[in-house]
């Protein structure tokens, strides 16, 4: 249970406060509601490039990191398809340093031609290091482009190709900042040993004077229902073949989301879960295997993935996944098994609430998806799910015509 209070400043900035009396650290999280899904298809990778540029300094504070570090703090950020998140943890006494820095870079970012050129090079190296120079590095890109035809989830956060980043102009980058980086598109969440009143007045002090310049944000094209099975086979220089089967499922606030989450736990939540126990240990078909939900805000994916042992044929591996799916569809789930995944969900929720950073980050996230109260209701929702619902979910999601199969074959 995470206690919190929430307010909105007159410029539209949402502020959420959590008190943690045990910690001498404070966490300041600033979430901007912009991710790769807001990108133009011919300029992908811009949201992530922009996250990097946020560390390039402002006219007032030319170097962002130094003041954080002088305050014994640490900061970082990440971008995904839905949002961009910036966070700082530092000793409580220095919390105002974090607020000062975040409010400063919400308006005064230094977007010079030179800064952009250097940062583009860094991001292109990241592209090469993480996606091109890694075995299986392009697997997720291939999967996305097969599963999504219309929705911008069809590209990964890093972008479609290094050329998109290379060709981004300074005008496009400045336009992106103006459109997405302003108070009413942001959520500030703070955890530390402070009263909510104190946090709210500090937020007003540091952010209250920023003028909001909200612009209309384009609607995101939603993915039409898939009506026939898709399949892609590629060959790569990797040691083992990997098979992925993905299905479309509901969005983050739909009831399907919780059922999908629970189904993936039944299949792959821990070493006693079905896939590990049956497909790795009992049948020795795979070296590794997983089932997960992509967890996106808009309609996401339910994904099965497995890396084959050399003795397993592709047909056997695929059939093994479908066999597990059939068991779920027929409701072959024991009370014991259900209770186990529910207990595990509850424990993991508690383990995730042990430090200020996780709490501040989670509060921002739940506010972003549009239901802050869900942060404390999810364990109960999970507890209430029944076997019949999981079977029902499996029947309407795991259909061949809703599937995309990727065979990522090892070159002989």
């Amino acid at each position: 249970m995470i206690t919190y209070d929430k307010t909105t400043l007159s410029n539209g900035l949402t502020v959420i406060a959590n008190r943690d009396k045990a910690s001498r650290m404070a966490a300041v999280n600033l979430l901007y509601k912009v991710g790769a899904r807001n990108e133009n298809p011919s300029r992908t990778g811009l949201a992530h490039l922009f996250e990097h540029l946020m560390f390039r300094g402002t006219h007032q504070v030319p170097d962002f990191d130094t003041p954080v570090q002088m305050a014994c703090g640490e900061n970082n950020a990440f971008t995904n398809n839905d949002y961009t998140d910036f966070y700082i943890t530092l000793p409580c006494d220095n919390i105002e340093t974090a607020l000062w820095l975040e409010s400063d870079r919400m308006t005064g970012l230094n977007l010079s031609e030179e800064a952009c050129q250097i940062e583009k090079r860094v991001v292109i190296e990241e592209f090469r290091q993480r996606y091109l120079n890694q075995p299986y590095g392009d697997l997720n890109m291939l999967l996305r482009s097969m599963v999504y035809k219309k929705h911008p989830y069809r590209w990964a956060t890093i972008g479609i190709a290094p050329e998109h980043i290379e060709q981004a102009t300074i005008e496009e980058i400045r336009g992106f900042y103006a459109r997405f980086y302003h108070p009413s598109n942001a959520i500030l969440s703070v955890s530390g040993d402070f009263s909510s009143e104190k946090i709210f007045s500090l937020a007003e002090k540091w952010f209250g004077e920023i003028t909001d310049k909200a612009q209309a944000i384009d609607a995101i094209p939603q993915e039409p229902a898939q009506i026939e099975a898709r399949r892609l086979e590629v060959e790569r220089d990797v040691p083992a073949t990997t098979i992925v089967i993905a299905f479309h499922m509901g969005n983050r606030l739909s009831h399907d989301f919780f059922l999908g989450d629970m189904t993936s736990d039944l299949l792959a939540g821990g070493d006693s879960a079905r896939l590990y126990e049956r497909l790795i240990k009992r049948n020795r078909l795979f070296a590794s295997v997983n089932a997960y939900i992509s967890g996106d805000v808009d309609c996401g994916m339910f994904v099965f993935t497995g890396q084959l042992l050399p003795t397993t044929t592709e047909a056997e591996a695929e059939a093994a996944f479908w066999e597990e799916i059939d068991k779920l569809k027929s409701g072959e789930i024991s009370d014991y098994e259900l209770e186990k995944v529910k207990n595990k969900f509850e424990a993991n929720t508690l383990f995730g609430e042990l430090n200020v950073m996780n709490k501040a980050m989670n509060l921002g996230y739940y506010e972003m998806i549009g239901d802050l109260g869900l942060i404390n209701r999810e364990v109960d929702i999970y507890r209430s799910l029944a076997r019949e619902e999981v079977a029902d979910f499996s029947q309407h999601i795991f259909r061949t015509e809703n599937s995309s199969t990727l065979i990522y074959r090892a070159k002989q």
């Binding site: 170097d63 570090q69 860094v122 190296e125 120079n133 075995p135 083992a240 240990k281 595990k344 383990f351």
Partner: protein, 420 residues
């Protein structure tokens, strides 16, 4: 608006670890943090890879402790832990194996039953060993397609020597030679009272303490403790490994120094942080921010029980590999010739203090730091000592350390990339 005033913490208060001794001599350290309704128990055995008599035996033994015991199959153990939302974690380095269990306080009793089986009664069933071998062999062959894995392994070899216990690595085919019997032998030789200590954190009730003691007391005793003599190092200074098709080269550079107990270890840590230990470090500024050669570059002191070294690691575009090497050499030379500005050194000291505070935030972090202190022969008062030692480091000291320890002739350089 104006920058708010800064407050620099001058003290880090850490709860002391309470020491208890089991009847067989095993030490149990308890750090009670009752505000968290969780329990974490770590068993640390002197059973790292240097203790093994057979390739991969040490890691396989540690990783398979929970894959079948006298009372339970691996499936039953996984079920029992998962059912209560408990989990365990296995870590192994060259010197030690760390087996850590976490659970909610309300499920400690049920979890302890599993801990007892895993620590005291593993059986290493042959069929599980076969599954493990196949899986690990495949994982390792994938890892070795990556330039950074090859660089890491070759760097250890270059530093210590091909057959030195701190430097050796084995081909993945050697997994085929493992057997249940080899693991059982390694277990009975290394998982003994003399080689073990236990660290508990979270809510440490009477029950938690007495049950933990009861488990530790059942560890067998082996009076003959084979002391490991570390052979002399056989260092190679320049190694290039070709890896066709790599779009980036992986670079490792470093210098053999000394373990954590050496008087210069902390000031050398300050130096390593200054050079490449944080986002705005000299190497990051140069290679990433000014040149765009890399996504990241790091340096740190690496610590073993009987050795220690300084290491720099990065991955750069293949066409600028030589330029990147030149820039790293240039930054090292700067440290040897020019006094560091007081302001930059202050920044580094604050970063290190902040890092210590962050690690120590929460019961699990405190336990990790306590474990590390004990293994080096210190207690938790050493944290304050370290903080003070960091604060005392001066620009003159950094300069003289760089001159003494970072002579270019002593450096080891390993590059893995496409040189064709």
């Amino acid at each position: 608006m104006k920058q708010p005033p800064l407050i620099t913490p001058s003290q880090i208060v850490v709860p002391a670890a309470e020491r208890h001794t089991a009847s067989n001599g095993t030490s149990i350290y308890a750090i009670n943090c009752p505000e968290y309704e969780v329990v974490r128990i770590s068993f640390v055995f002197h059973a790292g890879t240097i203790t093994q008599c057979h390739p991969f035996a040490a890691s396989a033994t540690a990783n398979m402790l929970a894959e079948g015991t006298e009372l339970y199959s691996s499936q039953q153990i996984a079920e029992k832990l998962d059912y209560y939302g408990s989990y365990f974690d296995i870590n192994i380095d060259r010197d030690y194996a760390y087996i850590t269990f976490c659970c909610l306080s309300k499920f400690f009793t049920q979890t302890a039953e599993v801990i007892e089986q895993v620590i005291l009664h593993p059986t290493f069933p042959e069929s599980e060993v076969e599954t493990y071998k196949a899986k690990r062999k495949q994982q390792l062959s994938i890892e070795r397609r990556k330039v950074e894995t090859l660089a890491r392994e070759n760097f250890a070899r270059a530093m210590f020597g091909d057959s030195h216990p701190y430097g050796i690595s084995y081909s993945e085919e050697r997994y085929d030679t493992l057997s249940s019997e080899i693991l059982r032998n390694h277990y009975s030789r290394c998982y003994t009272a003399e080689r073990c200590m236990v660290v508990c954190s979270g809510t440490i009730s009477e029950e938690v303490l007495s049950r933990t003691r009861q488990i530790a007391e059942q560890l067998s005793s082996s009076p003959l403790l084979d002391t490991i003599t570390i052979p002399t190092f056989d260092t190679t200074h320049d190694v290039r490994i070709n890896h066709s098709g790599a779009v980036q080269s992986s670079i490792r550079m470093g210098r053999m120094l000394f373990p954590r107990t050496h008087e210069d270890f902390i000031p050398m840590q300050v130096l390593a942080t200054l050079l490449g230990g944080y986002f705005g470090s000299r190497l990051m500024q140069n290679l990433r921010e000014q040149n765009g050669f890399t996504y990241g570059v790091f340096s740190a002191m690496v610590n073993f029980q009987q050795a220690g070294y300084l290491a720099i690691a990065t991955q750069v575009g293949k066409e600028i590999t030589e330029r990147a090497l030149g820039e790293i050499a240039h930054e090292i030379d700067q440290l040897r010739t020019t006094l560091v500005e007081q302001e930059e050194l202050e920044l580094v000291k604050n970063i290190m203090a902040g890092e210590m505070m962050r690690i120590l935030d929460g019961p699990f972090g405190i336990a990790d730091v306590t474990t590390e202190n004990i293994l080096c022969g210190f207690d938790n008062s050493h944290i304050q000592h370290n903080l003070e030692r960091i604060r005392q480091t001066t620009p003159d000291e950094i300069l003289s350390l760089a001159q003494r320890y970072l002579n270019p002739a002593d450096l080891v350089t390993v590059v893995v990339g496409d040189f064709e």
